[in-house]
């Protein structure tokens, strides 16, 4: 399988890019978008399923960020070294807003992708497909923990900042989510070792 890693485009630390972008550096902003879009997209898609909707919500997320960056009043983004946590918080809220909006329109909530719905979007790789199905069978809090850590690529400290929880709570929840996921895989007769290979 040909995997394209979402590696940083340059070695410039994200916080430096954030600072430059807030100072009006369009190049830094473009680099931030390039660097973080695949992670936000993967995170959002794992929550909503449909690629088209995930694209739309990823765009919405960055539009909100750009708007906050451009503000100079106290309502704008405040630099506290937690940019990625803030970004994923916006992504989570964008997904929830969409779910609420769909619910009002009596559509299937975006955040409640069932295992069956997830199966519809599976790629041919059967092992990964089984993994997606197992993740989809978890509760929302466990799924969110796994999505933030792996699809979003956040550190535990960043997840703690995103969710507003103590680090210890996040570590315990992640451990618990892994345990449940392993059980879900085992219930499907799948060994995680095969998936990692």
């Amino acid at each position: 399988m040909n995997l394209v890693r979402a590696e940083p485009i340059s070695e410039t630390p994200t916080d430096d890019l954030v600072r430059a972008a807030r100072g009006g550096d369009e190049g830094a902003w473009r680099e931030l978008v390039d660097r973080l879009t695949p992670r936000v997209f993967a995170f959002v898609r794992s929550k909503v399923g449909a690629a088209e909707l995930a694209e739309e919500l990823t765009q919405t997320t960055f539009v909100k960020v750009a708007r906050q960056f451009a503000r100079t009043d106290s309502a704008g983004y405040e630099e506290r070294g937690v940019f990625e946590a803030w970004l994923f918080r916006i992504a989570i809220n964008s997904v929830r807003d969409e779910a609420r909006s769909r619910k009002r329109r009596a559509e299937v909530p975006a955040e409640a992708a069932s295992p069956e719905a997830t199966a519809d979007r599976l790629r041919p790789d059967a092992a990964l497909a089984a993994m997606r199905e197992a993740i989809a069978s978890l509760g929302p809090a466990d799924r969110e923990m796994i999505d933030l850590r792996h699809q979003g690529g956040l550190s535990f400290t960043q997840i703690a900042a995103t969710l507003g929880k103590p680090l210890g709570t996040v570590l315990a929840r992640h451990h618990r989510a892994l345990k449940k996921l392993r059980a879900a895989l085992e219930a499907r007769g799948i060994d995680a070792g095969e998936l990692a290979g």
Partner: protein
């Protein structure tokens, strides 16, 4: 001292995390190649272009309905003797964003969730409960027995 079973579990966690990272790589690779460029083209941090973006995007919503949604229940709670009553509009689209609602309600609630009476749509409250830090819907006492149709109908 770490037991053998603890070590085995740690190893199994590492293997599973590796599998999850592999899945994440696949999903990031599935990001449409032109998406970052499209986003960069639609957004800008320069105030001049931002004005253009704001014309194309829905304008930020007024905070006034949210303030009403927060202050009116507080007043009602005082009358009813509850620590706090929250009404989550479940009818027409709320004039608030999730960000705004959570920030302002979290500020009001702080650690007072135990003495909270919440009224409204259960799903919305569940999401709100997670946002407020209780992590679970059962962190809130959800009471929808009073039969308020929605906030648009006004407080009792």
């Amino acid at each position: 001292m770490t037991s053998n079973s603890d070590r085995k579990e740690t190893v199994r966690d590492v293997v599973l995390e590796h599998a999850l990272d592999r899945l994440a790589e696949v999903d990031r690779a599935a990001c449409p190649p032109g998406l970052p460029e499209r986003i960069a083209a639609q957004t800008s941090i320069s105030p001049l272009r931002l004005a253009h973006v704001e014309q194309a995007e829905p304008r930020e919503k007024s905070r006034r309905p949210l303030l009403l949604a927060v202050l009116a229940p507080v007043a009602a709670a005082a009358v009813l003797g509850a620590a706090l009553l929250i009404v989550i509009p479940s009818g027409p689209p709320a004039e608030t964003t999730a960000d705004e609602a959570v920030q302002q309600l979290a500020f009001l609630l702080e650690d007072d969730a135990d003495s909270l009476i919440a009224f409204g749509d259960t799903d919305e409250l569940g999401m709100l409960a997670m946002d407020l830090g209780s992590g679970h819907e059962d962190g809130l006492l959800i009471d929808d027995s009073w039969g308020l149709p929605d906030f648009e109908g006004g407080m009792p």
